[in-house]
Amino acid sequence: MPVLKGKELRIVGFLCNWCSYGGADTAGVGRFTQPTDLRIIRVPCSGRIDPLFIIKTLMNGADGVLVSGCHPRDCHYAEGNFYARRRLEVLHRFLPILGFEPGRFEYTWVSASEGQRWQQVVTRFTEQIHKLGPAPKIAGPEASKTLRQMEAAL
């Protein structure tokens, strides 16, 4: 929540466990320095990523969303990223109708061995989001209230 004022923007990543999360680990092991904005949500497979998660994240005020999975053909579950590719491409093309800059969301493929590539992807995406600046915020009640209400409903 507390984005470092003036330093960071809110960037959320959805990464598949087998390839891209591993790639991000490999980048860490290699000490490949990256901007600190990104927060990673780990999912088993890019096929698990419902595009609505990404929309929800943007609606909740994220400035950028990055999705990364195994390279096509290398999915740990054989086909997950093929489904993901279609869903994510549709989303990428759909977002502008809502008024979101298309560059606020990107998807890509990074394997577990590509630590350096992960570093480049994060650096580039973070730069892109900083260039776009903070995302427009939807007017409405304070987060804490709504979220507390949602939690309470469970």
């Binding site: 595009p51 609505l52 929309i55 929800k56 609606m59 909740n60 096509p72 053909r73 086909e79 093929f82 489904y83 590719r85 279609r86 869903r87 491409e89 549709v90 093309r93 759909f94 502008p96 109708i97 809502l98 008024g99 979101f100 800059e101 990107e106 998807y107 890509t108 493929w109 992807v121 580039r124 995406f125 427009p136 939807i138 007017a139 409405g140 009640p141 709504t146 209400q149 949602m150 409903a153 469970l154």
Partner: protein, 319 residues
Amino acid sequence: MKYQQELKDSIRKALPDLDVVIAWSSGFDPLHATPHFIRRDEDIDRLEIGPLCVHNLATYLPGLRGKKVGIVVKGCDSRSVIELLQENLIKREDVTIFGFPCTGVVDQTKVRKALGNAGRVDFCQVASQTLVVGAGGTEHKLRLSKVLADKCFSCQYPNALLADHFVGEKISPSVAEEEGYDDLAAFENMPLDERFAFWQKEMDRCIRCYACRNACPMCVCRDHCLAESRDPHWLSQEDNVRDKWMFQLIHAYHLAGRCTECGECQRACPMDIPLLLLKKKMNKEIKELFQYEAGVDPAATPPLLSFKMEEENIKEREW
């Protein structure tokens, strides 16, 4: 309407084998048609077809699963039936489809605007290019071209695409395919921040009645719609733009590759929120990417439930 008698005859013949036939009849006033459930022979007489038959009756089909149902469809409605068949939500042998060539249906919002505060509607007649409405003692002549629904101006399938009984002559679409998305193109010419502001303003008016969803023939989850569920818990029950807008995106996404652009969602919305714009955008992208249109081929596989190893139209991102 021209083929009305023919249609009645054909329903009369089929009725003994059916539990019910869904059609339209005159509603609470002569300007509004309403869904009409034909169970007995005498019900057939009240059947009406024409530009007032706005409802997409396919919406009732999933709820009548297990029954032998006849249904009268416009071109656009037939696509919903096809889509329901494709998704195994209804059985082909359970439905009997009656089709007729549709020349367009009115948009009641436009009619209301054109009539202004005209008072009680006494009668309504359809002449060739006009709708003659008698209200508050005066006669109003409305040019059909002014009051037809937007979707009818871009309609590519005026004849039922799938029918067991088709009455009348098939007609050809009145507009070229490319024109269908003009309104979308106009909207997309707006700068991004204006689009963002536009939706905020529009969605602010939403009253969360879910009429849009209830009218949608493809929203088959109904009681278990994400909008009102706690597990999964996508939306709060609050009245805020964020959640209301999010619901429309949930709807648009759940209809991705399934929406037949029947326009029921928008028609049903009491607040006249231009919901179809979102659906059209989704359909346009899906068509461009996968050369796919929902509700055309009952045997097709929807694009988001399938894939190709090499996608012709998706570039590997330079990312």
